[in-house]
Symmetry: C2
Subunit: 197 residues, 2 copies
Amino acid sequence: MVSKTDRIPAAERREQILEAATRVFGELGYAGATTDRVAKAAGISQPYVVRMFGTKEQLFIEVLERTCELIVAAFDRAVADEASDKPVGPRIGEAYVHLVETDRGVLLALMQGFILGHDPNIGPVARRGFLRIYDRMREVMTPDEAMRFMAQGMLINTLIASNLTVRIDEDERVDELFACTFGDKLGIVLEGLSRSA
Amino acid sequence: MVSKTDRIPAAERREQILEAATRVFGELGYAGATTDRVAKAAGISQPYVVRMFGTKEQLFIEVLERTCELIVAAFDRAVADEASDKPVGPRIGEAYVHLVETDRGVLLALMQGFILGHDPNIGPVARRGFLRIYDRMREVMTPDEAMRFMAQGMLINTLIASNLTVRIDEDERVDELFACTFGDKLGIVLEGLSRSA
DNA sequence: CAGTGAAGTAATCAGTCGATTACCACCATC
DNA sequence: GATGGTGGTAATCGACTGATTACTTCACTG
C-alpha cells in the first residue's frame, strides 16, 4: 500500500508533522483543529500522529515551543547581521515582518497559544514563550522600546489572524491602517500576499 | 420543577445568556466552549440556549457584535466626558484599562473573534467589529495615534489572555512589562486583580 | 534466510457535543 | 374551565474525534 519512498526516519517525519501542525493549529485553533487534519496535512495517518506525540495536547505544546524557537532564532539572526547599516530595532522589526510573509502559520500558532493562557498545561508554556521573546528584546532595547515592539507585534498578529488582508485595496481604512502599521516594510508584506494568492 | 421566580421574559433571558456566553467563549474559545457550559453559566438548560440562538455559531456572532458595541460605547462615554481635564487619548486609554478590570470577558471574547478571521461566517463579523473600533479612534486622533492605540490594546489583550497576571510580583520582567504597558494606570489594573482574586 | 525492530495503517471504540423532539408548567383571557 | 401562547426541560440522536489495538510491510543483520 505504501511505496517504499514513503518510509521516512522518525526524526524527519516528526519535523514534518510539527510543520503541518503549526499551519493547522494556526488556522483552526487548538480546540478546532483535529489530529486527522494534522495527519492529512502531513500526508500520514491519524494514529501515527497520536502515537508519535502521545496526545493532541502534547503535540500542541511542542508546536508552541517550536514557534518560539523559530521567532527567537529569526531575531538572533537579525541582531547578528553585521552587514546591515540599520539600527537594531528596525532590523528586528523587519525580521518579524519577514515572518509574516514566509511563515504565517508560526505567528498564528503563537497567537493561539497566548489565548490559551488559562489552560493548566498549555498556559505555562505560552507564558514562558512570551517571556523568552520579551527577554530577547530587552537585551537590545529599553523596556519602553521592548513594550512598544511587542505591542506592534501583537497588532500585526491580529491583523493577520483576522484576515483583514483580504480587504486591502477594497477599504480605504484598511489601506491606511496597514500603511501605518508596516511603514516602509509594507512592500514586503504586499509582495508576500500576492505571492501566496 | 421550576419555581415561578425562575421564569423570566425572553428578552431579559437573552441578555443573560449573551453575558454568560461572553465569559465562556472568552475563556475557552469558540471551538473549546460548549453550549452546555454556556447554559450552566446562565443557569438554564442547554436546549434552551440552542433554541434561542439557532446555532452555536449564531450565538458567538451575537456575542461578538455585542462586545464591539460595549467597547465602542465605553469609548464614546470617555470621549464625551466633559468633566475630565485630560486630553482625549488618555481618557480612552483609561476607558480601555477600565474594561480590563470590570469586564475581562469582553476583551477575551473579542480576541477570540479576531483569531477566527479565516472562518467564512465569523470572519466578516470580526473584521467589521475591528474596523468599527478603529473608525471610532480615527474620529478623535491621527492614523498613527490610532494605530499605536490599537497596538497597545492588542498587547493588553494578549497579556490578559495569556494569564501573565499570575506572575506579577513573582517575575521581575513581568512587573517591568506591566508597569511599562499600563503606566500610570497600573494601579487600576492591580486593584481589579486583587478584587477578583 | 530467519529474525528483529522500525515505519506505518485499518478498524474500531468510547466519550463528547450540537441539535432535535416531545413534552411540561404557568398565566391570561374569553 | 377550555384554550393558546410563552418559558422551559428531559431524553435522545447522530456525527465527530482522540485514542487504542492489532496488524502489515520493509530494511537490516547475524
